[in-house]
């Protein structure tokens, strides 16, 4: 029963071979050289310290920190027989009893504004869903800003995402933050950029053909508490009006990224210090506050199922959203 098909094993051995060949170049790059290269071309590497108690007390006076995150649950089978439920949460460190929840749903079966994709284009459908999630997060953040007046807002994920997926609402949030001087930060747990990789590739002397991701290059390269603030000209994000940095925020070798509005560039280091302060030293590198907000916004699939079963007519539920897979018992 537990025998493994030989072919599968061979495929995995092959994958290992290909990957180690591909990355031999990265792995063999001298760390000192890479650091110098980054300092020269990407931005300065600096060590930052945690915030002091006085600084934290100042933040508290100024309204605390607002954490924003969203979640999505999908029930049902293949297109178009599913429903996706979105929930956004903005939670302030000060007003713990006043969490701001926003909710929305999406189902291809229901055309909200006549914006159905003319063809069944999967990309377009996907973008609607992403927009819904982004919008709900932005709305939660907007209401949080208006009601709770925080010192800074930490959003889960890159800010550029909102810019792309929900432009109008995003501009609204952006404008309000700038007007009220509220610092807006996006914390990216999984960085997908390849800023350094592209620069390496461009450098003719190095003779590197592949474009590597930053995540791979920066793995284990920074010391705990070290950050790289990225020069505006090397990142595409700058065009959209963002400033970014990389930082190793915990003892784990992975690196996180952070986005700020360009107009709030002066807070770059300060926010790096804030995130460092809120991240457990032995953790995965994610600020505890984001984890807390995340755990509160998340709804278990079981709970969603329960909600649908309680509030949808049984017939509708069975007919539309119960897939063959859900009934499988083996």
């Amino acid at each position: 029963m537990y025998t493994i098909a030989n072919e599968l094993k061979d495929k995995i051995v092959y994958l290992n071979k290909v990957l180690s060949e591909k990355y031999s170049q990265v792995l063999s790059l001298d760390e000192m050289f890479l650091r110098e290269f980054i300092e020269e071309n990407v931005g300065p590497i600096r060590k930052v310290n945690k915030l002091t108690e006085e600084e934290l007390a100042y933040y508290y006076q100024k309204g605390g920190i607002l954490g924003v995150d969203g979640s999505r649950n999908r029930v049902g089978g293949a297109y178009p027989h599913f429903v996706e439920i979105y929930q956004g949460l903005a939670k302030s460190t000060i007003y713990k009893d006043k969490p701001i929840y926003k909710a929305d749903f999406y189902s291809p079966l229901y055309d909200e504004k006549g914006e159905f994709p003319i063809e069944d284009s999967i990309e377009e459908e996907e973008s609607i869903r992403n927009r819904k999630l982004s919008t709900i997060e932005i709305e939660a953040a907007l209401e949080g800003i208006r009601q709770l007046k925080p010192y800074a807002v930490i959003m889960d994920g890159s800010l550029i995402r909102y810019d792309i997926e929900s432009f109008t609402r995003w501009m609204e949030l952006r404008r309000e933050c700038e007007e009220k001087d509220i610092i807006l930060v996006g914390v990216i747990k999984d960085i997908k950029t390849s800023i350094i990789g592209e620069l390496l590739k461009e450098d003719k002397e190095l003779n590197i053909e592949e474009c590597f991701h930053d995540r791979e290059l920066l793995y284990g390269m920074l010391e705990y508490g070290e950050m790289i603030s990225i020069h505006g000209e090397v990142t595409k994000k700058a065009k959209e009006g963002f400033s970014s940095l990389f930082m190793r925020s915990s003892k784990a070798p992975t690196v996180i990224g952070m986005d700020l509005l360009d107009s709030q560039k002066k807070y770059l280091e300060e926010m790096a210090r804030l995130v460092l302060t809120l991240t457990p030293e032995d953790g995965r590198g994610v600020p505890l506050w984001i984890d807390i907000v995340d755990s509160e916004v998340k709804i278990s699939d079981k709970m969603i199922r329960g909600l649908l079963e309680s509030y949808l007519d049984r017939q509708i539920l069975e007919m539309l959203f119960i897939s063959e897979r859900d009934k499988r018992t083996l």
């Binding site: 934290l56 605390g64 000060i94 713990k96 302060t277 457990p280 755990s295």
Partner: protein, 613 residues
């Protein structure tokens, strides 16, 4: 507080966001369909979903938690409290999930907490974790006692635990179990104090010489002090009390001899044959002695020779008597057995057992006093066998006479208390005191004779007796075999048994047949203290300090003392005080004072000079 999760008819979980649960706390579940249900917390837990137990390092470290606190978010406020409630009485249906839980009022729990008026029962301590219900308690039950918590005397805040002594008529006998240092002897002391308060005739067998109630606890507030001095009497076996030989029956005598050292069948036979009613110690002893001497001669001819060659009439008569004994008893009483009896009798005699009687004990009991019988364990075994047989049968004869409508001298009901009970009624082998204790345990209830048996090894106590102990006080117990025994013999639950090794000194589970459940209580502070409470290491310190002071006094006016002058100084001291030192010891003692900093030493090229500081 709400009922959460899956419920059953017996157990439910209750959750709260702001109130921690305490073990053995009583709560009322307001079930909308079944009405109020009473339950007891048997397990308490807290949980914080943001501070999970993780061994992979993903722990929110304290610096992050502190930082969040500085930003206004206290992660600890997200802690939730969960308690497991066991219902006192099984419900008809599983409890409704989500229904409210509240703290009961005193009236609601009175019946299950208190079953005796305060002035008629033994006020032994407090029922733990009942302070919230104690607020609206009847005045009668308030301020009855003090407890010791963390070395400090505390006023009563909880509901008192009052043992209903009257219930012993239905549910007789008490067992007190607990390892050494668990508060067992201390609990026994409190029980005895309460018995004295109620003037209940009591016999205490005290192998440790600790049940003396004349020393008052200096920690008690002055107005609360109670004087027990005229309520008890300490009597030492062989010194104050003993056995009147003339009153002994052959069985009594055999028991006594057997307790001294086990008897063989042949020895038993010797006693039966040689012991006559109304024998005095001397007449019995002489009979044995003469028979043995005759047997030592070896044959009738040789005894005859002794008679014929006797120098005086007295000697002749003596040997004639021996001859007569020899002729009557030699066949039935082997020499070795006779010697064995003599040896045992001698031993008892030397312990002084035959020099006194038990009059004083009987008088004390008749006056409702607590009689403490002291002696080493072996002597107590011997004596208690005789004493308890005697007293129990006096009581029994009186009650039987009442029943048969004849007359007998009045003898009061009484309680027998002993520590280290496994020595008196051991499991597995016979001991003379065991048979009487067994008899009392099985039928003492009818005659108003009760047992309170304390032991640190319930496993070693006779099982028939253990089975008769209707109330058990269980203090901290660490030995697995004893916990096993306790679990078999009482109604304590698995959870409670698991807590036994961790109980604080003075905390006790009381398993009472009358209550039908186990109560978690704390023994009150005793009014009196044991004479053995001084720490032996303090004693050492104090003694050496006193010695030093004494020596300082002696040499004080001799200082300074020159090293070449010791002889003269020693002579002077001998003349003044009569104490003699050798030069070496004297010098050692001076050096000792120097190291302790009481005098100082100056070195000169020739000798040391010891000076005052």
């Amino acid at each position: 507080m709400k009922v959460v999760g899956i419920t059953t008819q017996q157990e439910v979980y209750v959750g709260s966001k702001d109130r921690n649960f305490r073990i053995n706390e009583f709560l009322i579940i307001s079930d909308p369909y079944q009405g109020d249900l009473m339950g007891e917390i048997v397990e308490a837990k807290t949980y914080n979903k943001y501070i999970p137990l993780s061994i992979h390092g993903e722990l929110a470290d304290s610096s992050v938690i502190e930082s969040l606190k500085a930003l206004g978010y206290n992660i600890e406020e997200d802690t939730i409290y969960i308690g497991k409630i066991r219902l006192l009485n099984e419900a008809l249906y599983p409890v409704e999930t989500g229904c409210d839980v509240r703290i009961p009022t005193f009236d609601e729990v009175k019946d299950i907490m208190i079953n005796s008026p305060a002035d008629e029962g033994l006020i032994l301590g407090v029922i733990k974790n009942t302070d919230q219900m104690a607020k609206d308690m009847d005045e009668e039950y308030k301020n009855l006692l003090y407890t010791f918590e963390e070395g400090e005397l505390k006023k009563q805040r909880d509901i008192p635990y009052i043992f209903n002594i009257r219930s012993m008529h239905q549910y007789p006998h008490i067992g007190v179990f607990g390892g050494s240092g668990s508060g067992k002897s201390f609990g026994l002391r409190v029980v005895l104090e309460e018995l004295m308060k109620l003037n209940i005739p009591t016999i205490v067998l005290d192998p440790h010489f600790e049940m003396d109630f004349s020393q008052r606890g200096d920690y008690m507030p002055k107005e609360e002090e109670i004087d027990y001095r005229d309520k008890f009497k300490c009597l030492q076996v062989g010194f104050h009390v003993g056995v009147r030989f003339e009153d002994l029956s052959p069985q009594d005598l055999k028991n006594l001899l057997d307790a001294s050292s086990p008897l063989t069948d042949a020895m038993n036979n010797v006693v039966d044959i040689l012991f006559k009613r109304n024998d005095s110690y001397n007449s019995f002893y002489n009979r044995l002695k003469m028979l043995a001497e005759a047997q030592e001669e070896g044959s009738l001819d040789r005894i005859q020779l002794r008679i014929d060659s006797a120098d005086s009439n007295l000697e002749r008569e003596g040997w004639l008597k021996r001859k007569e004994l020899f002729l009557t008893y030699d066949k039935t009483c082997p020499y070795n057995s006779v010697r064995g009896i003599i040896w045992r009798l001698n031993r008892l005699y030397n312990e002084g057992i035959f020099s006194k009687d038990i009059r004083e004990i009987e008088d004390g009991l008749n006056m409702g006093k607590l009689i403490v019988i002291q002696g080493n364990t072996r002597i107590l075994q011997v004596f208690s066998t005789y004493l308890l047989n005697n007293l129990y049968h006096r009581r029994r004869d009186y009650k039987d006479a009442l029943y048969k409508k004849t007359t007998a001298e009045y003898f009061p009901p009484f309680i027998v208390v002993t520590d280290e009970a496994h020595n008196f009624a051991p499991k597995g082998y016979d001991s003379p005191s065991k048979s009487i204790l067994k008899e009392i345990s099985q039928e003492g209830r009818k005659y108003g004779t009760f047992l309170i048996l304390a032991t640190q090894r319930p496993t070693l106590l006779d099982e028939t007796i253990t089975a008769q102990l209707n109330t058990k006080f269980i203090f901290r117990t660490v030995r697995a075999s004893d916990i096993q025994t306790i679990q078999e013999e009482t109604d304590i639950t698995v959870e409670e048994a698991r807590r036994l090794p961790y109980l604080r000194t003075g905390d006790v589970f009381i398993s009472e047949a009358l209550m039908g459940r186990t109560i978690f209580a704390r023994i009150r502070a005793a009014h009196t203290t044991s004479p053995h409470t001084e720490n032996p290491f303090d004693e050492l310190k104090n003694i050496s300090k006193a010695e030093d002071e004494k020596f300082m006094q002696i040499i004080k006016n001799k200082l300074p003392i020159n090293g070449d002058d010791f002889i003269n100084v020693i002579k002077e001291i001998e003349r003044d005080t009569g104490i003699t030192y050798t030069v070496n010891i004297f010098e050692d003692k001076l050096e000792d004072l120097v190291t302790k900093g009481l005098i100082k030493k100056e070195k000169t090229p020739f000798f040391n000079i010891y000076k005052e500081i």
